[in-house]
Symmetry: C2
Subunit: 440 residues, 2 copies
């Protein structure tokens, strides 16, 4: 394909993309296919001769689309949002063309790991500074990290990778960690000869969007020489709105902070933003200087070599997407997006509260509503099965205090009040059918 | 920006991209700017009101382009190729539109880390199975990993992250690791009470594209219960050509293998492909199962949950790019690309060999030529400084047996014989000027 054909095919693709997104709600949000369906539809080997572009595009509809979960359907309410916007897509086209290889991480999971590894390195150095005879392996075997029992699985995984213990801190009635709970565990572990070195606080947990009490937790971490990382992967985007800023109080105690613009700030996946209070803490844990990566400005201080801040060496030119989106929406436009989605969540919450068969399971602070049918977990599992089977809307469950709960997250940029109303009509219809069944 | 405007702007962007790539060689391949130049050209805050798309695009040329190193200029010969092709770009447009979040790694660095962590987990379990009394921390303190002194910095970094010792194995005259060198170090370490558990072989090293002798190394690793990972990040793409397949002999001994289609297989960054002999070895080291990520097919065996194979939870829909490129080029087209670039390297090699002032520093096997002026490192450093300053071509150095060597890598898809000839004329001209200088 030469530039001339790319000009033609590119125009076609732009129209295909626009058509896809304009008509996305006509597609079943969730695929009705068995995993592995693809195997029989595609050859087992790459073609020897080039094929025509038309054939490839035909197969996009025939082969690919039937298996897609449409994350940008206004009827997608699962997980958390995956950002998308036209300016970001245009930026990605340019990013692909420039195709330069930057030297930063991709996701919140990596940010958590990076912060834990930096904290581990710092703790080992601190302990060895006061007891030169103790080996690195011995310190490692005593280190303890902490996070909420409600924290994302990637936090536990970071400890697994880092080879350190991770203790889960129990949460209060709001599913958030308070200072006294952490303090108590730290004291116990110190008494048992362990070395507390890291706490990952969550602002906006995945199950219920709970906010750990960082104003209580921060001073404890600082007093105990524990690194405090704040994972605000989803909720972080909301802090562009002054009314949500109080939830950020306590950040002054944090050593690192991360949020994902690719979740809620209209920047296509992947784009994760991390701040570190003392960059030398991170660089110290990773710096490598092979000659083929040396450059003139290395020592000048003019350059921040992000390759020392991350696991991969390379990264895509992600900042271009942020830049397009910030400029094309403006702060007001981005604030309007956040506020609209929070309002839609409140609208759904009021629909649930008005129906006595249901209960709200956690305070609705942002764009997530946790709800369930009053009754057994089995009843709610069956309701979710019906919802998934019907393919009209898509949502996933979570567990709160041992109860099976449905998570209704406002995701697509294009979700409007009518979609919320329709989703609720659909849920109540399925509930009616469910409660008719003899088993209930 | 609505769909209607996206259709218009998208067409414009397609033309901008085509124009950029068609005229890329008119741009200085390397920027003539001080790092930080951008700060004065952009506001310190995001705009309050949306701006016009025209203004953004104007600034792409005014603000962004002057700072870009044009990785796809036919005069770019640095590092290794960063793949790019029109079909891959079209696929990326579609990928951005679908915007689904897959749950696999990005780069070879991550693949190396994943394999090392899996090997660490396997080794600890094996040792503890025979000596139940030994603690995980104690095993960890005895584990030793090995790799070539010529291996990529990311291998050493993986050991740093994994908290295990990494020993550098010396290389032979071809800058490759042979069996006896590894065997000797392993025996020494075992005698000293350490536990060898991992070896990362390189097929196509970064400095000189050397190939470790995996047919000798593989059996040693298998006998010693050491995990053998093969990093073929760059050279791996060449194995689609039968004539290069012999370099892959010994792969049957490997536990894991990785190469980067985003380097040499016309798939835009990022796209890295990893194979594992026993998937349970990887999954065992990472598996996490929060309820919000559970799904029906989890236990059915129909689904391969790649999120258990990697550090990030999410990934972009990268396979789409591979699929477009495989189909639009066909195996023949991809083989032709590899063979053409190898031929261009041979052409450059013969130009260097014909000039008695220069020497070739390593066998030219693929698309990389390592060369230098006969004489001091300082002389060659000065030559590279002149090359960089002139901005006409871009290349980076490496160190081979203590000597400062210039790396000439065939990178851009569009590099032709005339670019090689022009690059050599340019290098010899600068050499002539350099040797005129009184200092020499």
């Amino acid at each position: 394909m030469d530039a001339a054909e790319f000009r033609r095919r590119g125009r076609e693709m732009v129209d295909y993309v626009a058509d896809y997104l304009e008509n996305i709600e006509q597609r079943p949000v969730y695929p009705d296919l068995e995993p592995g369906y693809l195997r029989s539809l595609i050859p087992s080997e790459a073609p020897l001769e080039p094929e025509s572009y038309e054939d490839v595009m035909k197969d996009v509809e025939r082969v690919i689309m039937p298996g897609i979960t449409h994350w940008h359907s206004p009827y997608f309410f699962a997980y958390f949002p995956a950002a998308s916007s036209y300016p970001a897509m245009l930026a990605d086209m340019l990013c692909g063309a420039i195709g330069c290889i930057g030297f930063s991480w991709g996701t919140a999971s990596e940010a958590t790991l990076i912060s834990l590894l930096a904290a581990r390195c710092k703790a080992i150095r601190r302990v060895q500074a006061t007891n030169p005879e103790i080996s690195e392996a011995e310190v490692l075997s005593k280190l303890v990290a902490y996070t909420s029992e409600q924290a994302h699985s990637s936090v536990e995984r970071a400890a697994l990778i880092g080879g350190v213990m991770m203790r889960k801190v129990p949460t209060d009635k709001t599913y958030a960690v308070g200072g006294h709970m952490l303090k108590q565990m730290v004291e116990e572990d110190k008494a048992a000869g362990f070395i507390p070195f890291y706490f990952c606080a969550t602002l906006g947990t995945t199950p219920s969007c709970a906010f750990d009490h960082t104003t209580e937790l921060g001073p404890i971490c600082n007093d105990e020489n524990m690194w405090m990382h704040i994972d605000a992967a989803y909720a972080g985007s909301a802090f562009i709105c002054p009314e949500f800023r109080p939830l950020l109080n306590g950040i002054e105690f944090a050593d690192s902070f991360n949020f994902n613009p690719h979740k809620w700030l209209l920047v296509n996946f992947d784009c994760s933003a991390m701040w570190v209070k003392k960059r030398t803490d991170i660089i110290g844990a990773f710096k490598m200087e092979p000659l083929y990566l040396k450059h003139e400005n290395q020592e000048s201080g003019l350059v921040t070599d992000y390759r020392h801040w991350q696991i991969p060496l390379g990264r895509r030119f992600r900042s271009l997407k942020l830049w397009f989106v910030f400029r094309m929406y403006g702060l007001k436009g981005l604030q309007a997006h956040i506020r609209k989605q929070v309002a839609l969540a409140k609208e759904f919450e009021s629909l649930v509260r008005a129906d006595k068969r249901f209960e709200i399971c956690a305070e609705v602070i942002m764009g997530l509503v946790c709800f369930r049918l009053k009754g057994s977990n089995e009843l709610n599992q069956n309701l979710l099965k019906k919802i998934t089977k019907s393919q009209e809307i898509h949502l996933v469950p979570c567990q709160l205090s041992g109860r099976f709960v449905l998570r209704f997250a406002i995701c697509a940029r294009t979700t409007e009040s009518r979609h919320i109303q329709q989703a609720w009509r659909h849920i109540t219809q399925l509930t009616f059918e469910l409660l008719q069944e003899p088993s209930h």
